[in-house]
Subunit: 350 residues, 2 copies
């Protein structure tokens, strides 16, 4: 019996037991949890939809308010031909690549105009999704000083740097706080992050398709060569340009449309959660998520908190990803794997 | 590669990673934790020694006070030839058995007299360890009525039915509250329970040897035939009497003296914690423990709380026990395994 088959059996057993114990239940709270309640929730590590947590200053976030606050400051916006940033797409040679978006600098007014004009302005999709702590980064919390490097600095007055009931429950500050602005064109391909995530929708609606960490093996990860969208010349359409051949391949799910019926194996139990304006999703560390947005402008904030390093959580997430087999995509032999490019590397089983 | 070797590799990887992340650190608190602090501690699921949690009424628990309160009531006491109740011992045929103690009914005064007279009274060891919720059982919490069935009912006034910071953290009542009275003769063989455990020492001192759930494979569990100590006639010494052959075998560690150097493999990282009178140990669910006591009378209380059924904890504990190979002891072919006889059955990987 090969190593691969044996490990697959262990993974299938774990996911079946997990689903048997937990089902597909998602709890909904009508008010923000207390720190103790949220500590218990993190222990269980299942998604929770929180309806009663509002952030008053965000009510004023109209297009004109945001454009006025940001004024002529330039912000980094992901531009893609199809709305899929950080996703699998075909390169010029017909092979599949993990393609990062083209990044364009523009004003907030210009971004919002582009998002409102979808269809008129051409096929390209714009998405503010820099997700590098674009509002508050760990430097802010480490240094307890105003790090004015943030492109979105003028919006900080409206956004709490941390979620009080989450910080108190976990006993730590966030690692990064991000603003996301897009429309129905933008889709986030399915992936998981090793962070506890508080996701708050300000305008519009986000639809999450979720899988527990135990069902990651259903997503058929592969190793993809890396590419970046760019324009051969300033007026050209975007094309995926392969990165230099010594760029490490990216480990990513080969299931590009998990929301389509039949795309996942029967052992997967996807959970669909719609998060509307004013609602908050607790997305536990290691949960796989695919995210779509309503057609109108959708604005969201997220607070990433480091996972608890003590105990078993980190080991289990590594086990669930580490004992799976990750073959190369395109039938190309790729020896060197790189984990999700933005995140810490999982330690594979030797 | 056989299934056994493959699973052993997974277990070795898990235990090495777990030790790498956590070391052998045991936190000590100088005061009882708040419910939120204890919720975080349970999430981490590592032992914590709590020095500042006192239960005032227990200060009066002298021999004469206990004998007076219990008066002529009879209590069930475990009697063994060597102090090992629920442990591996040789039967009359020279084979190894899992042997339950003889249970003798006696007054508290008689028990305490026997414990004080060790050496004078003969080689047999007495240990009040009925561990069936002998102070408060789940029936007490479920029914919210006084279930006067408890043999130790007269002592209930002195013992809190629950630990407030633990019940509030976990959001539930205990499943069982037990009194333990023994002396240096009595040893608890190494095993694990699927319960969160709060262990409070009232008199004397207990020494725990602990292994995390990830190192259970180091304990070389085997399937043992079952036996019970009894006397061929009233004045005879105790002998292990094998149970009927259709009694399911018991899964138990074959390492009877893990405290002796060299008895555990080098991949095991035992933690030794001494808990003195007035101190409390949080022993997380699934942690393996071997317990010795000081020579003088040692009195302890424990509160067992059900493990959180949601999330991953239960699955992981089952995985860690379920993918190991458990051969029969005595080279006898035993097909049917029974889990720790007092506890819920783990679901083996099919």
């Amino acid at each position: 019996m090969s190593v691969l088959v044996q490990n697959r059996e262990v993974l299938e057993w774990i996911s079946e037991e997990y689903h048997g114990m937990n089902g597909s239940h998602v709890e909904t709270l009508q008010a923000a949890p207390s720190p103790l309640e949220f500590s218990r929730i993190c222990h269980i590590s299942r998604p929770v939809l929180i309806k009663g947590y509002t952030i008053p200053k965000l009510r004023q976030w109209s297009d004109s308010y945001l454009s006025g606050r940001m004024n002529e400051s330039l912000i980094s916006v992901a531009v893609t031909p199809d709305g899929y940033a950080d996703a699998i797409a075909s390169g010029p040679d017909g092979k599949k690549y993990f393609v990062e978006p083209h990044v364009s600098q523009m004003t907030m007014a210009s971004l919002l105009r582009n998002l409102n004009a979808t269809g008129d302005a051409g096929p390209e999709a714009y998405y503010l999704q820099s997700q590098n702590g674009n509002l508050f980064s760990s430097a802010y919390f480490d240094q307890e000083v105003e790090d004015t490097q943030s492109e979105l600095h003028p919006l900080r007055d409206d956004v709490p740097a941390e979620i009080p009931w989450c910080s108190e429950a976990l006993g730590r500050h966030p690692d990064a706080v991000n603003l996301w602005i897009g429309n129905g064109q933008s889709v986030t391909s399915i992936h998981s992050d090793p962070y506890e995530n508080i996701y708050h929708v300000v305008r519009g609606r986000k639809t999450f398709l979720l899988l527990p960490p135990t069902e990651g093996w259903c997503l058929e990860e592969r190793l993809y060569p890396h590419a970046i969208y760019s324009r051969p010349d300033a007026s050209s359409p975007l094309v995926a340009v392969p990165s230099p051949s010594d760029t490490p391949p990216i480990r990513w799910s080969s299931i590009t449309h998990p929301e389509r019926p039949g795309s996942l194996p029967p052992q997967a139990h996807p959970i669909c959660i719609s998060v509307s304006a004013g609602e908050t999703l607790y997305l536990p560390a290691g949960w796989w998520h695919h995210v779509r947005q309503s057609d109108d402008i959708t604005i969201a904030l997220n607070w990433w908190y480091d996972i608890e390093p003590r105990g078993m959580a980190w080991i289990w997430l590594n086990l669930l990803r580490g004992i799976g087999n990750v073959p190369p995509a395109n039938d190309v032999d790729e020896d060197v794997a790189q984990d999700d490019h933005r995140h810490r590397t999982a330690h594979p089983i030797p």
